[in-house]
């Protein structure tokens, strides 16, 4: 029973991946802007999934993930810009560093409850943002601008076509979602849920909740940092307000919660709805100026939170429930 459930889920997952992989080959993508939106969906979906590990599965609402995301992007960017090297080792160092920073910072933070914890994570973002702003070695407020480098996987850099980024994002997504799917099936995944549902109970059953939470934070930060490295490579530029800001942190939280907190599909669904909304509303009405697109965006967030705080997964559940009831009624 247990394993069958997982297999059927996995099939869906591979179908989604296969379709995404085939789209460019079938020539269904008529323009690079659509590609851009799909890349963003996969990137932000992965970011949200990374956050979901700690925020959804483990139930710790961190607003600090832009710090880890930022460290990852600085890792890649400094490898290229400062050291004139390939971004790969930089991304790795950045991701490991992010995991380390996450463990060091989270230790004391996990002693805080509820809003105290949330505000502490705000404070950490602000501190990091301001420190990076004045830290000249990492470019300070000027940020890091990529030079022209040779295109290709070695430098993870393409200028004319987005195909490389598209498949890069797909691999990123497969990696992040794959790790989470694997985690779900492992003891660690169950422990995360147990800590979220009742820390005291979990402790009574021999779960070292502190260690579980710290490991989850480290994993989450690691994945977020890898997404950050991709982001830097994609935008040719890193500066603190781009990557280490409350704005960016909110994106992690918002996409996951709009999609469905603590669910495997939630982050992808959240990104698949939110990102096109954000990009197309800006493209179509943002140019008019005056922030009409952002007004609408804000209203939608309010509406979803008021109507169904469990997000799109919750809405889908409701629909499924209703149609099932209707079916049963018909008989």
């Amino acid at each position: 029973m247990l394993t069958r459930k997982h297999i059927s889920k996995d099939v869906k997952w591979w179908i989604v991946v296969a379709v995404l992989a085939a789209l460019p080959l079938m020539g269904v993508l008529p323009s690079s802007y659509t590609e851009h939106v799909l890349i963003l969906i996969m990137l932000y979906g992965s970011m949200a999934q990374a956050w979901n590990v700690i925020g959804g599965y483990c139930g710790q609402t961190s607003f600090g993930h832009s710090v880890f995301f930022g460290i990852g992007s600085y890792g890649a960017a400094m490898a290229v810009v400062t050291f004139g090297f390939s971004p790969w080792p930089g991304a790795m160092v950045g991701a490991l560093l992010a995991a380390g920073v996450a463990v060091v910072l989270s230790g004391p933070c996990f002693k805080l409850k509820g809003h105290y914890f949330a505000i502490a994570t705000f404070a950490i973002v602000e501190i990091f943002n301001r420190l990076f702003m004045v830290w000249d070695w990492v470019g300070g407020a000027l940020g890091l601008d990529y030079p022209l480098v040779e295109e290709g996987w070695m430098n993870f850099m393409w200028y004319d076509s987005k195909k490389g980024y598209y498949y890069g994002a797909l691999i990123l997504m497969i990696f992040v979602f794959g790790v989470v799917r694997k985690m779900e099936k492992m003891r660690f995944g169950y422990y995360l849920l147990a800590v979220r549902e009742g820390q005291e109970t979990a402790e009574s059953l021999g779960v070292n909740s502190t260690r579980v939470k710290l490991s989850a934070m480290a994993l989450s930060a690691f994945l977020a940092a890898i997404c950050g490295a991709f982001y830097a490579q994609y935008n040719f530029r890193v500066d603190p307000s781009m990557v280490m800001s409350l704005d960016m942190s909110m994106k992690f939280v918002l996409i996951t919660i709009l999609g469905g907190l603590g669910t495997f599909w939630g982050p992808l669904l959240g990104a698949a709805v939110l990102i096109p909304l954000q990009e197309y509303s800006r493209a179509f009405i943002g140019g008019m100026g005056g922030g009409v697109d952002l007004m609408i965006f804000g209203l939608i967030i309010v509406l979803v939170m008021v109507k169904q705080p469990r997000g799109i997964m919750g809405i889908l559940d409701d629909i499924a429930m209703k149609s099932r009831e209707k079916k049963e009624g018909d008989h």
């Binding site: 323009s31 000027l142 940020g143 004319d160 698949a272 100026g289």
Partner: protein, 424 residues
């Protein structure tokens, strides 16, 4: 059973989303006898004010280009459209002051909207990735007012910038101080810097520091602050404690008024306060500050007081003022965006074609006649910097921008040192 069902709905939804995405962007753009030009400015976020004004300036220029305006003494104004009647059509984009958005919007403008060129994009940090995209996609990027000197040191072939850089301005500041010391024995030896800690402020401050160092001025205060400040007490207090003779300032909008008012509150002033393109050049802020804003100085590319130097501007400005709310005259920043648009039209006219290579050749080899520019000329150096870009140092006196330097253009004696708060 239930789980399976939800799963199916979900996959269906996902496909639907993907499908919609494909549909929304799939519509091909019909070819017309128009030239599409993209604008890319921060229409929302902290720099929205400047961005919206710049956008209006570009609209103004397009109005001049597309319609017959024989009364306007600017090349191309009299004719309707360019190249015998082709009209400019603007596609606006908002980059929100975020470099990543600027990059993706530039891509969208080029790939999706098929624009011929992009004009923008105010924040240097956004201009960098956006112009990079244009370069790779072999489109023109004409930049009005982004001030980072680094922009035109990247060896890009399709990037052109009209405004003077913060490097040029810094040199001018220092030269002016030398002039004051030599002819007015102002005795200015020390410099303080106050700037917002962003890519713009930091860059300006570095150029300022370098220029001061070369001229033998001692930098004794280096005050960076976080933009959008709730107060600037410690910042001004730090300046006051160091008490430099001259201050170079790079504070935008609300921070500029806060800076001025905090100095008044703390009853301190340097002998000379010189501003990069900041809140100082915003005529509305200058008006709102009333006498508090007086005696500050700054590099100015245009202000209504320059009317007799640049008689061609007035008629264009009239159009611009109908496009802004509240109605404002041109300021140094946004007039450059209008010029950028006009130069683009002029280059196409001179090339006689929309062919990129021909237009590029014109950009690189022509001395453009540009009555809207201070100095009346535009010439681009390799890398894209406008060699004829200049600004006049002005000082606010009685609420109007008085030209004080260089001497051949000056009409007023500078008030140095600045008049005390008490004696105003």
């Amino acid at each position: 059973m239930k789980r399976l069902f939800i799963g199916r709905t979900m996959v269906a939804k996902l496909f639907l989303t993907l499908f919609l995405v494909a549909l929304l962007t799939g519509g091909a753009v019909a070819a017309e006898k128009v030239i599409k030009i993209g604008t890319l400015f921060p229409l929302t976020g902290p720099c929205a004010l400047a961005g919206q004004r710049c956008q209006s300036a570009v609209e103004t220029a397009v109005e001049v280009i597309n319609n017959s305006h024989p009364e306007i003494k600017v090349p191309g104004a009299a004719a309707e459209g360019v190249l015998g009647g082709m009209k400019f059509v603007l596609v606006h984009a908002d980059h929100q002051g975020k470099p990543d958005v600027a990059k993706s919007e530039a891509e969208r403008l080029i790939d999706q909207e098929g624009v011929y060129a992009i004009i923008g994009s105010y924040n240097s940090s956004c201009t960098k990735p956006a112009s990079f995209v244009a370069e790779r996609k072999q489109k023109l990027f004409v930049c009005g007012c982004s001030s980072s000197a680094a922009l035109t040191k990247r060896d890009l072939n399709r990037f052109f910038r009209l405004a003077p850089t913060d490097e040029t301005e810094s040199l001018e500041f220092v030269e002016f101080i030398k002039y004051l010391n030599e002819t007015k024995s102002a005795g200015i030896e020390t410099v303080g810097l106050i700037y917002e800690n962003t890519e713009f402020g930091k860059h300006a401050a570095e150029e300022g520091k370098a220029a001061a160092g070369v001229a033998g001025l001692k930098v004794i205060a280096d005050v960076a602050f976080n933009p959008g400040a709730t107060n600037l007490n410690s910042e001004v207090q730090t300046l006051k404690a160091a008490d430099p003779d001259a201050v170079f300032g790079a504070c935008l909008g609300g921070d500029y008024t806060l800076w001025v008012r905090t100095m008044k509150q703390m009853d301190w002033l340097p002998d000379v306060a010189l501003n990069y393109c900041t809140g100082y050049q915003d005529p509305i802020i200058a008006k709102q500050l009333e006498s508090d804003g007086d005696f500050f100085m700054g590099g100015t590319g245009y202000s209504p007081e320059f009317a007799e130097l640049m008689p061609a501007v007035a008629a264009v400005e009239k159009i611009y003022m109908t496009k802004t709310d509240p109605s404002v005259p041109f300021d140094s920043d946004c007039i450059q965006e209008a010029i950028a648009t006009l130069i683009l039209a002029q280059a196409m006219e001179l090339a006689g074609t929309t062919d990129y290579d021909a237009v590029l050749k014109v950009f690189n080899e022509t001395e453009f006649d540009s009555p809207m520019s201070l100095g009346g000329m535009v010439v681009f150096a390799p890398g894209g910097q406008n060699l004829k870009a200049m600004s006049i140092l002005t000082q606010l006196q009685g609420g109007s921008y008085k030209k004080i330097y260089p001497l051949d253009l000056a009409d007023t004696e500078p008030v140095v040192p600045m008049t005390d708060w008490g004696s105003r």
